[in-house]
Symmetry: C2
Subunit: 366 residues, 2 copies
């Protein structure tokens, strides 16, 4: 795997995003230095040479030693797939308990407009996940040329439908629609996506509680909790300031008493800031942007990015990588989410969790 490190991280992003900085922090880590020395200079031929070295039957003891050291420094893998399964099992048990007690189950309505393949996949996965835990799912597929009013009409019908406890409008919407108008039409008590500005406002304010926390950042924090990562008093850096991940993630970390810095596209030298972080949440959508040298030894890394990069060796012609250069980061961090199988599976698990919370509120079921 180590031989893939720099091919992965160097080939898929512009060099502007990937300065190779010799981090003094890294240099202090003797075990990492050894690996880095072997891999310098960082270019494709270097990676290829490394490949040759590894496949050679007469490996030098030096290389073997470096590989052994590298293994010992490898971060714990934060297994989002396993945690998501555990959460789905918990939700499933709760749904069954609710059904037995009051004869009701939660219901989730999903509205999808147009034919985007990725959106269709997400919606199918949501339906399957609902089925697997006993939540009723309702789907409204609308044609690409639907009007804003038609979408809002369906939202309003679901707002009034007592068997629907959560409403989700699959994003992105077609360009001719005003996302703000459509999302604002969702009754805040059914806003299981947590994107309503009133939810975001409550999330930002001390002493207020949002009805729902947006699913992906909620999943990030849940992973930290389930892996026993302490947040209080820690330095946290969130990379990216989107409404759906970066901003709510920073608010959640601050609510748990982390000292949070939000790094974004206008931040000069982001690596100087990330290097101070005990916890990094990367949610920027740039493949392999966060290099090993950006990371403080022992930091915990939550990688929200799911970026397709060309890969001739894959049958699909591409593979998915995160915003963090995993193979470099795993040698520096103490724990890290893989891509895929990290944050990804958590998002739908949190959507189910929010839908269960919504139904419990309606039925006043504890």
């Amino acid at each position: 795997m180590a031989s893939m490190i720099f091919t992965d991280c160097s080939s898929s992003t512009p060099s502007r995003l990937l300065p190779f900085t010799r981090s003094p922090l890294l240099r202090r880590q003797a075990d990492v230095v050894l690996v880095r020395r072997l891999l310098t200079p960082l270019n494709f031929s270097c990676s290829r040479r490394r490949l040759t070295l590894r496949s050679s039957p007469s490996q030098s003891p030096h290389v073997s030693a470096s590989l052994a050291t590298e293994t010992s420094a490898t971060a714990k893998v934060i297994d989002g797939k396993a945690v998501a399964k555990q959460i789905r099992d918990e939700i499933s048990a709760e749904v069954m308990r609710m059904k037995d007690a009051i004869g009701e189950v939660p219901g989730l309505a999903v509205i999808i407009v147009g034919n985007r393949k990725d959106s269709a996949t997400y919606v199918r996965n949501k339906r399957k996940a609902c089925e697997s835990v006993g939540i009723n799912s309702f789907e409204v597929p609308l044609p690409e040329d639907s009007t804003e009013e038609e979408v809002i009409k369906f939202i309003k019908a679901f707002n009034d439908d007592p068997s629907v406890h959560g409403i989700l409008v699959q994003l992105p919407l077609p360009n001719h629609m005003n996302e703000e108008n459509i999302l604002n039409a969702v009754n805040i008590e059914k806003d299981v996506d947590g994107f309503h500005p009133l939810n975001i406002g409550h999330l930002a304010m001390r002493g207020r509680e949002p009805m729902f926390v947006p699913c992906t950042p909620k999943g990030c924090i849940e992973l930290l909790h389930r892996y026993g990562v302490s947040i209080k008093g820690k330095r946290a850096v969130v990379i990216g300031r989107s409404n759906i991940v970066g901003t709510p993630a920073s608010q959640l970390l601050q609510r748990e008493d982390a000292t949070v810095t939000v790094v974004h596209s206008r931040t000069p030298n982001p690596e100087e800031i990330t290097r101070q972080a005990d916890i990094i949440i990367a949610a920027v959508g740039k493949p392999n942007m966060v290099r090993g040298s950006w990371i403080k030894p022992g930091a915990v890394i939550i990688d929200v990015g799911i970026n397709p990069v060309e890969d001739a060796k894959s049958p699909r012609g591409y593979r998915l990588v995160g915003d963090v250069c995993y193979d470099e980061a795993k040698n520096v961090a103490s724990a890290i989410t893989p891509v895929p199988g990290g944050v990804g599976p958590m998002t739908i698990a949190m959507l189910l969790s929010n839908t269960l919370i919504a139904a419990k509120k309606v039925y006043n079921f504890q």
Copy 2:
């Protein structure tokens, strides 16, 4: 003045809050080093000795040199009083233009519950400020033992009153009232304080615009703008995470593309973070907490704190100081707001500005 530095900053806060750190940043500044050397060790007797030195007719050339250097390093004073006057003049002209064009003027309603002396002073100042720019002001003073319902009844009446464009409930409210219920009753289109969670949500979200920005943080940013302080791409640290200043200030800075860190009571070693900031907004309510050694040379300091500290020499028995040790900070920062006369006067100016904005929206007056 320099002789007062450490008496001021050491005497008014517990030493726990005021570690004297020998900042490497400061030591790099030769001119500051000279002053600091003269003032070491830092205790009251040192300050008194300094006083004697300054009052001595036979000052050594060394001391004169230090004073000269000190003066040359002094930060620009950000004169909030003057800026607030300028803004009031601008608002006054706009109110007159509105009256001439459509025969209407903005109206601000203030509800005050109980007899807190400080609240009464603020409300009186607001009334005077309204009068000075031609905004109608309405005041409802309610007894301390009013019920939540009574307060909300008045809010609703003002919500329905077309001559009232802004409604302000003076905080803090008596303990028996639920602040959240009361503030939520204010029509968001009249929420000139900007405290409604929907406003905070919009402020936190990219691509959304709040109806109103909370007055004090709006005043902080206005001061930066009027003094030509560039925000984009700068490192900013906000000290304090209150709903009314810290949180919205951090959101405003980030909207202008600063990289923002929020430091709070659970942040270990806050000075390590503030020392990286190009812009510091201190809003924590701890007198003189931010020492000179906490500040990067050349940083711009906005001090929101207004803290009374005992002062036997003052006829009132106290004087007002900020969260920043002004006399130390002015030798390190490039610009700083004084206390009083910095952010304070801006808050009411921004309230008038928000009330004018509210009225302009209602009458669609550009």
